[in-house]
């Protein structure tokens, strides 16, 4: 009811069933079905439903660890779900089919409407209906005496024209009238909106293929060079080509965390992470920069985001003769809010046997009732590192890639902790300990050896994990999105309406002015708009009359 009867819907499919359609006939039939408004609605709702499962089951794209966990928890169900692409819903065949059909439908819908609209823009407003009294906002005025019908209509035409209407004068059986229409922008906005959606889909679907994203963990002091090999993990787009990597360098100079200390209810909650970095684009001067959680650094066509952080204890292993066989700062993965962290040390060479160590790091070590350790505060108040030592085969030689964050103990023998009866190694920064079986020594290096006694604040290095992205489509997507929003606003708020004014000479010689309107789409203000036109028009007639010399008026 808020749509006028001549509103353009996709043409209704013909009711007659033809006996033999032939291929072209079938295609035409299919196309008509697809571009039907009802199909569009169906596909739209189907898309909403199809998006639901992806929020119930972890997705490889956003939560790969969750997927692994799901497989472990539901070994029977998971492979079946995987068959129907339940872990890749948003790139699955069925999800893609729905949105592609929807967008084909959209294009098929919008193109004829654009043609229709283009013609409407060039056409004259339609004839004035015979009887205005049946239409919305119908109102009459009596023209000031002596007003000529022709002049009244002409002044109404000019008034409507200056108010943004397209207006034309009609004459029908001696009745003269003006017909006006405005708000073509409404349909323009609607079309712009739908085209912008197509624009978004194309740029996202196609342009996204030229980008990449990669992750890299850096310990304070380390430098990263933007080349393929330097990434810990790298996800190229379909059309990515590694010559587009610009080899800049990025050094993590310092990583700062501020913890809440005043508000006891939120004590220890991190309130700021800042990575101070130095970026050197190829052939340019080095520049100091910062990466924060909501503030990426943008350089050489890539955006660098801060995703995670933690501690990276520096561990040195020496053989029995005191020769260093291993020294490195190892990122330990945080396990809880107080940064109890878990890390793995692998010493493949230099000792009698390959050595692996599973370590826990507690920035502020506390002992729970059970006797187990935990961390009670995320900053370095009372740091402690514990290590369980394993010897045997690290499994590095098999050529299978292994994670630096896990230790495969199948081929190894546990030497400390657990059931071995040998105490785990416990170290504070700067301390060393003998390895079991006379294998050598292990040291937890103090990163700030000169600090005062009891001040551990700088004793352990921190690491930051960065996400580095290149996405050439971002600006395009944003532009289309803004266009869509503007189109939406115009199409929902610009009223499209027709207004008519008719001058009807009465038998007593006076002139009756009739006004009425017709809504085209949602138009709550139509009636007051017609009343407003009527008032302004009669005012105009009155003032033009008083402006004419009194002699002429008689």
């Amino acid at each position: 009811m808020s749509r006028p009867s001549d509103h353009y819907d996709a043409p209704a499919s013909a009711g007659i069933v033809q006996p033999r359609l032939g291929l072209v006939g079938w295609l035409r039939w299919f196309w008509r079905q697809l571009t039907n408004m009802r199909t569009a609605l169906f596909l739209l709702l189907l898309l909403a439903i199809a998006a639901v499962p992806g929020s119930l089951v972890p997705q490889r794209s956003s939560d790969p660890n969750g997927v692994t966990q799901y497989f472990a928890d539901n070994p029977d169900l998971a492979p079946i779900l995987d068959q129907i692409q339940a872990f890749d819903v948003y790139s699955s065949a069925w999800f893609s089919a729905i949105y592609l059909l929807l967008f084909i439908s959209l294009i098929g819908c919008v193109i004829p409407r654009t043609k229709h609209h283009y013609l409407a823009l060039r056409a004259q407003p339609p004839r004035t209906p015979a009887r205005l009294s049946r239409l919305a906002g119908f109102t009459t005025r009596t023209a000031p005496s002596g007003t000529d019908a022709q002049a009244a209509v002409e002044s109404a035409r000019r008034l409507l024209k200056t108010s943004g209407y397209r207006a034309a004068v009609f004459e029908n059986r001696g009745e003269i009238s003006v017909s006006a229409e405005r708000g073509y922008l409404r349909e323009t906005g609607n079309l712009v909106f739908h085209f912008a959606l197509v624009g978004i889909l194309i740029t996202v679907g196609f342009g996204g293929g030229f980008g990449f994203s990669g992750q890299r963990v850096l310990v304070e002091g380390q430098t990263f060079v933007n080349t393929l090999l330097a990434y810990d993990s790298f996800n190229p787009g379909r059309f990515f080509n590694d010559t587009s990597l610009k080899p800049y360098t990025l050094t993590l100079d310092d990583f700062d965390v501020t913890y809440e200390e005043k508000n006891l209810k939120a004590y220890g909650q991190p309130i700021d992470f800042t990575a101070d970095v130095t970026i050197t684009p190829r052939g340019e001067a080095a520049e100091a920069s910062q990466v924060k959680v909501n503030g990426p650094a943008r350089t050489s066509g890539t955006d660098v985001y801060l995703l995670g952080n933690g501690y990276a204890p520096t561990i040195t292993v020496k053989d029995p003769n005191g020769v260093v066989v291993f020294t490195d700062s190892i990122p330990f993965l945080p396990q809880d809010a107080n940064l109890t962290s878990l890390g793995v040390v692998k010493v493949p060479d230099g000792l009698a046997e390959q050595l692996g160590m599973i370590g826990f790091f507690y920035p502020t070590q506390a002992t729970m009732e059970s006797g187990a350790y935990s961390s009670s505060y995320p900053d370095l108040e009372y740091p402690l590192l514990t290590l369980n030592v394993y010897s045997g085969d690290l499994g590095l030689d098999a050529g299978v890639p292994t994670s630096v964050y896990s230790l495969d103990i199948d081929q190894m023998e546990q030497l400390t902790g657990g059931k071995t009866g040998v105490e785990s190694i416990e170290l504070k920064p700067g301390e060393s300990s003998e390895l079991p079986n006379g294998l050598g020594t292990v040291t937890f290096d103090d990163a700030a050896p000169g600090a005062q006694n009891g001040d551990f604040s700088g004793s352990v290095l921190r690491f930051a994990s960065f996400d580095i992205h290149h996405d050439p489509t971002q600006l395009w997507v944003l532009s289309f999105a803004v266009l869509a929003l503007l189109g939406l606003l115009t199409s929902l708020f610009v009223p499209r309406r027709r207004v008519w004014m008719k001058a009807v000479p009465q038998t007593d010689g006076s002139l009756r002015l009739e006004y009425a309107g017709l809504a085209r789409g949602e138009d709550p203000a139509l009636e007051s708009a017609v009343g407003d036109v009527a008032d302004r028009h009669t005012d105009l007639l009155l003032s033009s009359q008083s402006a004419t010399p009194a002699s002429e008026q008689k």
Binding site: M1, S2, R3, H7, D9, A12, M37, R38, L41, L44, L45, L47, A48, A51, V52, G54, S55, P58, S62, D63, G66, V89, Y90, A136, V204, S213, E260, K265, A266, Q269, P270, I271, D272, F273, V293, N294, P296, D303, Y305, L307, D467, H469, D471, Q474, V477, L478, A481, V482, A484, L485, L488, L492, A519, E522, D523, P524, A525, L526, E527, S528
Partner: protein, 334 residues
């Protein structure tokens, strides 16, 4: 007593006043039913005459009433219903409760030294405040006071859940939330929810009214008698549409602002995170609602169902996804 405790006290006071407003509005609905009942009991011929008269008015003025907006939107109820003191008491109490509620929210913001919408408790507090604001603003343009029971009732339930289940102490913003987009994105989303809530209420009444109308047409008596004093289902449908498209535009903006923020915080503007998925689902359902109104065979009750489903999804997104689903948007504070 510190500012946060004062805020909590204000919030409980506001809830008490909302409860009184709810009672006043319920009283009004009961009175409407009674009024309709006694009118029906009146002389049969008189009734027929009255129906004939309203029918005539409906026929000649049907489209006129629908598209009319002077300053206020007229009511085209089948049975005119005079002044109601309890209705006015209800509105006054709602305004009073709103002011106390506003104070509670502002105090919470001052206590936390930031915008009061950074965890579930605060979302609920600000969100319900906005629902009431939207309701009161719309009241100045159209007489939707008959929704008072619904609005105050819903706000009471949500505030109750928030105070009992979602309460958390004032805490500083985690780094991920330290962004101007928190102010914009979350506020606009919450405002949109306010409009969707009203649209949902209107669509629900529209469905009830539609059933009532068809019962009356087939000369059966409706159960919810007060419906006779409310606008026709066609008018309710138009009102619901008008309110909902404002919500839809705000939601569209929310979606876009969220993407821009996600790009800054997580390095990608869209990643199908659970919260993003649900925001998208809600957007799509409401786009379906708008299309339904332009599709043959879907106007009227079917589109109303879409508006109801849409709002159910909004509530699901807020109450269930925030708390129970895993994702990057882990800001419930619980």
């Amino acid at each position: 007593m510190n500012l946060n405790e004062l805020s909590i006290l204000s919030l409980y006071s506001a809830m008490a006043v909302y409860a009184l407003a709810f009672i006043a509005f319920s009283f009004d609905l009961a009175r409407r039913s009674a009024a309709v009942g006694s009118a029906e009991a009146a002389d049969e011929t008189q009734r027929q005459a009255a129906t004939a008269r309203t029918d005539a008015a409906g026929a000649s003025g049907g489209t006129t009433t629908l598209t009319r907006i002077s300053a206020r939107i007229a009511n085209d109820a089948a049975m005119p219903y005079g002044r109601s003191p309890s209705l006015r008491v209800g509105v006054s109490l709602t305004v009073l409760a709103f002011l106390i509620h506003l104070m509670a929210t502002v105090l919470r913001g001052v206590a936390a030294e930031r915008v009061p919408w950074a965890n579930m408790y605060e979302f609920a507090m600000t969100g319900t405040l906005l629902i009431v604001s939207v309701f009161l603003i719309v009241l100045t343009r159209a007489d939707l006071r008959f929704l008072g029971t619904f609005v105050t009732g819903m706000v009471l339930v949500l505030l109750g859940i928030a105070a009992l289940r979602f309460y958390v102490e004032v805490a500083p913003l985690p780094p991920a939330l330290q962004s101007a987009w928190l102010v914009i994105h979350v506020f606009v989303a919450t405002l949109g929810t306010g409009f969707f809530a009203l649209g949902f209420a209107l669509s629900t009444v529209q469905l009830l009214q539609f059933r009532h109308e068809s019962r009356v047409a087939s000369a059966k008596s409706g159960r919810l008698r007060f419906l006779a004093t409310l606008p026709s289902s066609a008018m309710l449908e138009n009102l619901a549409y008008r309110v909902t498209i404002i919500g839809f535009i705000l939601w569209t903006f929310t979606l876009m602002a969220g993407s821009i923020w996600a790009e800054q915080a997580w390095g990608r503007y869209w990643g199908w995170d659970t919260k993003e998925v649900w925001t998208f689902i809600i957007w799509t359902i409401y786009a379906g609602y708008i299309h339904a109104r332009a599709t043959r065979g879907w106007r009227g009750s079917r589109s109303a169902w879409l508006s109801i489903i849409g709002f159910a999804a909004v509530m699901f997104n807020f109450g269930i996804v925030n708390v129970f689903f895993k994702g990057l948007h882990a800001y419930s504070g619980l």
